[in-house]
C-alpha cells in the first residue's frame, strides 16, 4: 500500500480492533485503506514513520510472551496483546495505541457501507426522510 504499512500486520491489527473487518472482500478492504490514506495524506512524514514503527513493535512484541509474532497468534491472544498496549503504564504507549486505533476506526467506520451496516441513516432531509 502507498502508505507502506506492513500489510499483513496491519490487517491482523485491524481485524482485532474491528472483528467485522475480517469479512471485508478485497474491494471493501481497498476502500478502508483509501480512507486511511486520505486521512494521513497531509500529515507529517514523522507520524507515518511512527505508525509503521508501532506496527512492527506490535508484530514482534509477542515473541517475548507468546513465542510467536502477532500475525501468528490466535484472535484471543492478539486481543490480549493489544489490551496490554492500551492499558500500558507508560502514557506514550497508550497514546500510540490510541492513535493507531483511531486510524483503524476511521478506516472502517468512515466508509458509507459500514455506516449503513450498523443502521446509521442520517439524512440532510431529517424528519422528512424518516416519514
Amino acid at each position: 500500500m502507498p502508505l507502506d504499512l506492513p500489510p499483513t500486520i496491519f490487517r491482523a491489527v485491524v481485524s482485532t480492533i474491528v472483528p467485522e473487518s475480517s469479512s471485508l472482500d478485497n474491494q471493501e478492504w481497498q476502500g478502508l485503506v483509501q480512507v486511511i490514506e486520505a486521512l494521513l495524506r497531509d500529515r507529517p512524514e514523522s507520524l507515518k514513520r511512527q505508525l509503521r514503527l508501532f506496527l512492527n513493535v506490535i508484530e514482534w512484541l509477542p515473541l517475548i510472551r507468546f513465542g510467536r509474532p502477532f500475525t501468528r497468534l490466535s484472535p484471543d491472544a492478539r486481543a490480549r496483546v493489544l489490551t496490554h498496549l492500551q492499558n500500558d503504564r507508560i502514557e506514550k504507549i497508550r497514546v500510540g495505541f490510541w492513535g493507531l486505533r483511531t486510524i483503524v476506526l476511521a478506516g472502517y467506520y468512515g466508509r458509507p457501507q459500514a455506516a449503513a451496516a450498523i443502521g446509521y441513516a442520517a439524512s440532510p432531509k431529517g424528519w422528512e426522510a424518516l416519514r
Binding site: G119, A122, K125, W127
Partner: protein, 503 residues
C-alpha cells in the same frame, strides 16, 4: 510579496470575528476599509453533504484531528467561513452570572453582558424548540432526569428552518443554524467589509501582518480565495485577533509578543468531554432531530460537570467508545438503539495548561487533567449512566471502568464500578470543543493579556475578541459569551475610531 493596506483587519470569522465585523461595518460608510482574514474556505450551500469524514476534512482544523501535545485529547475547532459557528449545534446560553463574578475582571459587569447577549439572541433567532421536534434521544434524557428528580433544562437554540438532519457538527446541510456565516458576516459584507478566505496570518508586527493565501487544493470543497495565492504584507491601523483560543495566542507567540505579556498562552481551559453511549432495548429516534436540546448543570459547582444530550456520527462514536473488539462492535451494531450523553468537565485555569508553539511556530496545547476535572468526568459518567438506566437503557458503555460494558443489573453498583484509577490519558476517550483562555482579560500585564475590553496591554492598536479572552472556564457553551465580549471590543474601537483610524 504583495502589499495592501486597510484601516481594520480582523483575523478569524467565528463568533468573535463575525461579530466584530458586523459591529464595525458601519464604519465602511465613512470610508473605512475593513477586511476579515479567514484561514478556512467558504463553502457553497450544496457542498454541505453531511458525510462524516468528508465534512470533517473540509470544516475543522486538521480535519478534526488536532491533538494536545501529549496526544491524549482531541480539540475540535472550526476552520471555515464562520469558524466554529459553522459546526456547533447552535445552543445559545447566557453567560452564568456566578462565573462572570468569579472572573472578577475590573470593568466587566454581568448586566452589561446580559444586555448584549439578549441582542445577539434576538438577532440569531434564539428560541426553544417545540416538543414535536424533539427526538427520543433527548426525550429519554429528560425522562431519566425527571425520574431522578434532576433539574433538566432545555437549550435555547439559534436555528431557523431546521429539518432535523442531526448533522449540525458537520455544518448544517439546510443552512438552519444562525451562526456568523449566516447572519453577521453576510451583513458585514453587505456593508462593505471584505472577507478573504484561505488566508493564514503568519505573524503580526506593529500595525502590520504577514499572511499567506493558499490556492484551492485540487478536489477540495469551497470557493478559491478572492485574493491570488501568495504572500502578503497587510498594513492596518487596528488589528483584531479572533482566531480562537488556540490560534490567537499561538499567533501572538509566533510574533514574539510574549515579552512584557508573561500571561500570553496561559490559562487554557476546554471543558474536556466524554461521550457516554447507552443501549436501549428498542430503536429510538437518534440520528434525526436536533441533537443537543437539553442539559443538566446542577452539579457544575459541587462536582464540576455538566451533562448535555448529543448524537454523533459512526466514526466519532466508534472513537468515543473505549476499547476495541467484540464489546466495542456490539455497541456500534446497536446504533439505532443508542442514546448519547455528553459529559463536560468544568476545568479551571491553572499554571500548567497553556498554549505554546513548536519550533516551526505551529500551535501546541499543553494540557494535563486536573483532579477536579477527572472527578467531574467520573461523576458525570456515573450520573449519565444513572439517567440512562432510569430511562430504560439495558446497558451502558462506561469508559472509566475496568470492564466498559455495564448491564442494567449492575446499575446499583455504578458508584463502585466507575473509578478515577480507570481514567487513563491515552486510553480514556476525551475530546473538547469549548476552547477558552490564553489571552485572558484583567487589569495589568502581570495578571492578564488584555484589559476588560480586549485591548492588549501596551499595544493600543491590537485587540483580542474571541474565547481566548476568558480568564477561566465558562462552564457552559461559550459562543454567546464570545459575541458579547466581541461586541464590547467593537464598541471601544468605534468609540476611539477618530484617534485610532484618523477619522
Amino acid at each position: 510579496m504583495t502589499r495592501v493596506s486597510y484601516d481594520i483587519v480582523i483575523v478569524g470569522s467565528g463568533a468573535g470575528g463575525g461579530t466584530v465585523a458586523q459591529e464595525l461595518s458601519s464604519l465602511c460608510a465613512q470610508g473605512a476599509r475593513i477586511a476579515v482574514l479567514e484561514k478556512g474556505p467558504r463553502l457553497r450551500d450544496e457542498e454541505f453533504t453531511g458525510r462524516e469524514l468528508e465534512m470533517a476534512g473540509a470544516l475543522y482544523e486538521d480535519g478534526g484531528g488536532f491533538l494536545t501535545s501529549d496526544g491524549a485529547m482531541t480539540l475540535a475547532m472550526g476552520c471555515v467561513y464562520g469558524g466554529s459557528t459553522a459546526v456547533y449545534t447552535g445552543t445559545s446560553m447566557l453567560p452564568p452570572e456566578r462565573i462572570i463574578r468569579r472572573w472578577n475582571v475590573p470593568g466587566l459587569a454581568y448586566a452589561d453582558l446580559e444586555c448584549r447577549a439578549c441582542k445577539f439572541m434576538a438577532q440569531n433567532n434564539v428560541h426553544l424548540l417545540k416538543d414535536d421536534l424533539i427526538n427520543e434521544n433527548n426525550k429519554l434524557f429528560v425522562a431519566g432526569c425527571r425520574k431522578l428528580n434532576y433539574n433538566v433544562e432545555q437549550f435555547p437554540v439559534n436555528i431557523k428552518g431546521c429539518r432535523g438532519s442531526s448533522l449540525c457538527n458537520l455544518g448544517c446541510p439546510n443552512q438552519a443554524k444562525q451562526g456568523t456565516d449566516r447572519v453577521q458576516l453576510p451583513k458585514a459584507e453587505r456593508n462593505g467589509v471584505e472577507v478573504v478566505t484561505r488566508c493564514q496570518v503568519l505573524t503580526i508586527g506593529e500595525k502590520t501582518l504577514a499572511a499567506r493565501v493558499a490556492a484551492k487544493p485540487a478536489g477540495a470543497k469551497g470557493d478559491p480565495s478572492p485574493w491570488e495565492p501568495g504572500d502578503y504584507q497587510i498594513d492596518a491601523k487596528v488589528i483584531v485577533l479572533c482566531a480562537g483560543a488556540v490560534n490567537t495566542p499561538a499567533l501572538m507567540l509566533r510574533s514574539n509578543m510574549q515579552k512584557g505579556i508573561p500571561r500570553l498562552g496561559c490559562g487554557f481551559t476546554c471543558h474536556p468531554a466524554m461521550i457516554m453511549v447507552d443501549e436501549h432495548p428498542q430503536p429510538i429516534t437518534n440520528f434525526v432531530g436536533h441533537p443537543n436540546s437539553y442539559y443538566l448543570d446542577q452539579f457544575a459547582e459541587s462536582d464540576h460537570f455538566v451533562l448535555e444530550t448529543c448524537m454523533y456520527f459512526p466514526f466519532i462514536t466508534a472513537k468515543s467508545l473505549a476499547g476495541f473488539g467484540e464489546p466495542h462492535s456490539a455497541f456500534m451494531r446497536a446504533f439505532p438503539r443508542l442514546q448519547m450523553i455528553l459529559v463536560l468537565a468544568c476545568d479551571k485555569a491553572d499554571a500548567i495548561n497553556r498554549v505554546t508553539i513548536d519550533a516551526a511556530g505551529k500551535p501546541m496545547v499543553d494540557y494535563r487533567f486536573q483532579p477536579e476535572a477527572i472527578h467531574g468526568l467520573i461523576q458525570g459518567a456515573i450520573t449519565s449512566a444513572k439517567i440512562s438506566f432510569a430511562a430504560g437503557a439495558k446497558r451502558v458503555h462506561m469508559p472509566v471502568a475496568r470492564h466498559t460494558t455495564i448491564e442494567a443489573s449492575d446499575a446499583p453498583r455504578l458508584d463502585d464500578i466507575a473509578a478515577a484509577a480507570e481514567f487513563k490519558p491515552g486510553r480514556t476517550p476525551v475530546s473538547a470543543a469549548h476552547l477558552q483562555g490564553g489571552c485572558g482579560m484583567g487589569s495589568n500585564p502581570s495578571d492578564s493579556v488584555t484589559d476588560a475590553q480586549g485591548r492588549v496591554h501596551g499595544l493600543p492598536w491590537l485587540f483580542v475578541a474571541d474565547a481566548s479572552l476568558f480568564p477561566d472556564s465558562l462552564e457552559i457553551n461559550p459562543y454567546i459569551t464570545i459575541m458579547t465580549l466581541a461586541d464590547r471590543v467593537a464598541e471601544r474601537i468605534q468609540a476611539e475610531a477618530p484617534a485610532l483610524l484618523g477619522r
